[in-house]
């Protein structure tokens, strides 16, 4: 080995460490913007229709129930949001759901493992952004959707095919950077 290449080899560990540092910085930046989520799990239902289900409505909410029949041949993309009154991040994301509903985006809700009276109290306190609302107290329909926590939000295109799933609260950033572009892309 020539002295030049020997010297080059001396710097190899530094190069490896620098590359690792750049990659780690990229990960941290991605986590900050929400592009990269180390705990996030890709949904197995992307590109498929929503599973068949019928669920009872939330009595007293004056909102029609959501069944899988309502998720076929839609006028535009819709959001399906799994939430619960006992879920703290759901309070964080609620203003964004209210805003989307006010802008005319259909937001459908499924109350997950929640007592009806608690769900009702939550909606009275924070507002009801849901155009359709069902409750899944046993949580079995949620399992058919691949839900593993609340809040979880799915975006379905006009054909009712699941295009996007987000596990976690819809922050204003998620609304602007993910949901709005997706709504535009699947508008037609």
């Amino acid at each position: 080995m020539s002295p030049a290449s020997r010297r080059a080899l001396l710097f190899a560990p530094f190069a490896v460490a620098a590359a690792g540092g750049v990659a780690f910085y990229g990960m941290l930046q991605g986590m900050k913007t929400g592009e990269y989520n180390p705990r996030g799990v890709p949904s197995a239902l992307i590109g498929r229709n929503a599973p068949d289900f019928t669920l009872p409505p939330l009595d007293g909410a004056d909102t029609p129930p959501l069944t899988s029949a309502d998720l076929r041949n839609l006028p535009g993309p819709v959001l399906v949001n799994f939430w619960a009154s006992w879920c703290v991040p759901c309070i964080i994301e609620h203003p964004q759901l209210v805003r989307l509903n006010r802008e005319g985006v259909p937001v459908y809700g499924i109350a997950y493992k929640d007592r009806p009276e608690d769900s009702l109290r939550f909606l009275r306190q924070h507002g009801n952004p849901f155009r359709r609302l069902s409750r899944d107290e046993p949580g079995r329909v949620a399992i058919d959707w691949g839900v593993y926590g609340v809040p979880e939000t799915y975006l379905l295109d006009r054909q009712g095919i699941i295009r996007w799933r987000f596990a976690g609260p819809i922050t204003p950033d998620v609304l602007e950077q993910d949901i709005r572009p997706l709504l535009r892309r699947h508008a037609s």
């Binding site: 799990v41 197995a44 493992k113 949580g139 079995r140 399992i143 959707w145 691949g146």
Partner: protein
């Protein structure tokens, strides 16, 4: 103060002072002190060992058996065994590094119950796994499937072993090349200097060692 005074706090303090200053005692007392210290040390050792055994005994049931409500178990032990074996390969999506048999999270219990329901309904092991895989994807399987998307994962040990073997072969070759080549031949100037010293111009010392 008399170190033998029993009971009182001052007496205990005094005896403790005596313990740290054995040099002031007679030889016999010192021997007695050493013996008693040994007894205390041994006793402490036994007590700690006893505590350890107790701790292990308390923790053992947690690790040996699945957590959860015994009422959730299937009455048929053979089916329950099947359900447990399946459950050990199913990831708890919430805690992520535990199987559903090891987790007390609500969703893990739901999935445990689903596994048992499917088994009672007559599903094969593969059908139960397919049911969960359709909903939660590859991530729910603690043993990842063999597919293109997991090729890097499965290939890593093979690649690492091959790289290591390659490194060993390369190092051996280099060592052999260094051993075979020997020192470079003498220049004309060096040969003349050797001749001036009265040594043979072969590059070998008189005793056969290399110069």
């Amino acid at each position: 103060m008399d170190p033998q005074t029993p009971g009182a706090a001052s007496g205990r303090l005094a005896s403790r002072n005596a313990l740290v200053r054995p040099a002031a005692l007679s030889v016999r007392a010192r021997a007695a002190f050493a013996a008693s210290a040994r007894v205390v040390r041994t006793a402490r050792l036994w007590r700690n060992a006893g505590r350890l055994v107790l701790l292990c005994g308390l923790l053992a049931p947690l690790s040996a058996h699945a957590v959860g409500n015994p009422a959730d178990m299937l009455p048929d032990p053979a089916l329950e065994e099947r359900a447990r074996n399946l459950g050990r390969d199913i990831r708890c999506m919430v805690c992520q590094n535990q199987s559903i048999e090891d987790s007390e999270v609500g969703l893990a219990r739901d999935l445990r119950l689903i596994v048992r329901e499917r088994i009672v309904a007559g599903d094969s092991d593969a059908q139960v796994m397919a049911f969960l895989h359709a909903r939660y994807g590859d991530f729910v399987l603690l043993k990842p499937p063999f597919a293109w998307s997991t090729a890097a994962l499965w290939a890593t040990p093979v690649v690492a072993v091959l790289a290591g073997l390659g490194l060993i072969v390369a190092m051996r070759r280099r060592a052999a090349a260094v051993a075979g080549s020997g020192p470079p031949p003498l220049t004309e100037e060096e040969r003349q200097r050797l001749a001036a010293l009265g040594l043979p111009p072969t590059g070998q010392g008189q005793d056969g060692t290399r110069a």
